[in-house]
């Protein structure tokens, strides 16, 4: 980018990380993933994000519909635990390579 460019913010989603699947010590339930939303530390804060759409965005080498970027859409279903982690269900289960990857928590459906 040319020197001196002013970067205007464009983000309309909250950042989140995929922590893994819901699981016990030895059994995993892959239909639900755990997401840590940035800045959320209590289940009361997490209430804001319930129902919001989530997108796991990733790239692949094969071009589909003119793009190498792919998305798996989902939504935040409920809070998880006492530290602001949240459960999310996606249209298809997230691939395990997504653990630790970023996820976009959209601001819609909005209730403000």
């Amino acid at each position: 980018m040319p020197a001196g460019t002013i970067h205007k913010p464009h983000r309309l989603y909250a950042k989140g990380r995929v922590l893994g699947f819901t699981r016990a010590k030895r059994n995993t339930k892959e239909n639900t993933s755990l997401v840590q939303v940035e800045g959320v530390q209590t289940p009361e804060d997490a209430q804001f994000y319930l129902g919001k759409r989530v997108a796991y965005v990733y790239k692949a080498s094969r071009v589909i519909d003119g793009s190498k970027v792919r998305v798996i859409w989902g939504k935040i279903t409920r809070s998880h635990g006492t530290s602001g982690v949240v459960r999310a269900k996606f249209r298809s289960n997230l691939p395990p390579k997504s653990f630790g990857a970023s996820v976009r928590v959209m601001l819609y459906p909005s209730n403000i």
Partner: protein, 195 residues
């Protein structure tokens, strides 16, 4: 009240000139057992309720779609339940548009739109695709041609925006506010923001 019978002309010289025929004929076929009748729905169609934070003149932030991030002025709720908004067009390029309230954040900023009366002709039909536009969409060969904006839309836009831009200009910095887009930056968490 229509009659139960009607007279019908009959052809053939030996058949008499007319017949009297029942208007509502009884059924030709009755099933052996009564078919089960589904229950009548007890749901009543009601207009979509708007959030209390959304009132005419409220500045809304569009969250998705072509104009995501834009701050627009809410005008009224249409019959379909969608919200009618405008940029105004001269300020941020958003035309008269319908938007679903789930894809909108209502801010506490309000514009005085009491002076502006929106024509009843701006309703859901106003936004319906014309037959020509539908045909063009079906027939596009190489690339879909950019559809020209109809004169009626431009005229309606100017009429509505005139009063709103006047009201916006009265408040200091409101024009700049509406022309700037909303976005999150580092350290801003939506659940902590006050809109």
């Amino acid at each position: 009240m229509s009659a139960a019978t009607k007279t019908v002309p009959v052809k053939g010289s030996k058949n008499g000139k007319t017949r009297t025929v029942l208007v509502n004929k009884p059924a030709r076929f009755y099933p052996a057992e009564d078919a089960p009748v589904p229950f009548k729905s007890r749901k009543a169609a009601r207009p979509t309720a708007i959030r209390s934070s959304i009132e005419p003149g409220t500045v809304l932030i569009l969250l998705a779609g072509r104009f995501r991030g834009k701050r627009v002025v809410f005008l009224k709720q249409l019959g379909s339940g969608l919200l009618l908004v405008t940029g105004p067009f001269k300020i941020n390029g958003v035309p008269l548009r319908r938007v679903n309230q789930a894809y909108v954040i209502a801010t506490s900023t309000k514009v005085d739109v009491s002076a502006c009366s929106i024509d009843d002709s701006i309703n859901d039909d106003f936004f319906k695709q014309t037959k020509d536009a539908k045909k063009a969409k079906k027939l596009y060969e190489e690339e879909p041609k950019k559809s020209a904006v109809t004169e009626s839309r431009i005229a309606a836009q100017k009429k509505v925006d005139a009063k709103i831009v006047a009201a916006v200009k009265k408040t200091p910095a409101l024009t700049a506010y509406l022309s700037a887009s909303f976005a999150l930056s580092k350290g801003q968490y939506p659940h902590l923001l006050k809109f």
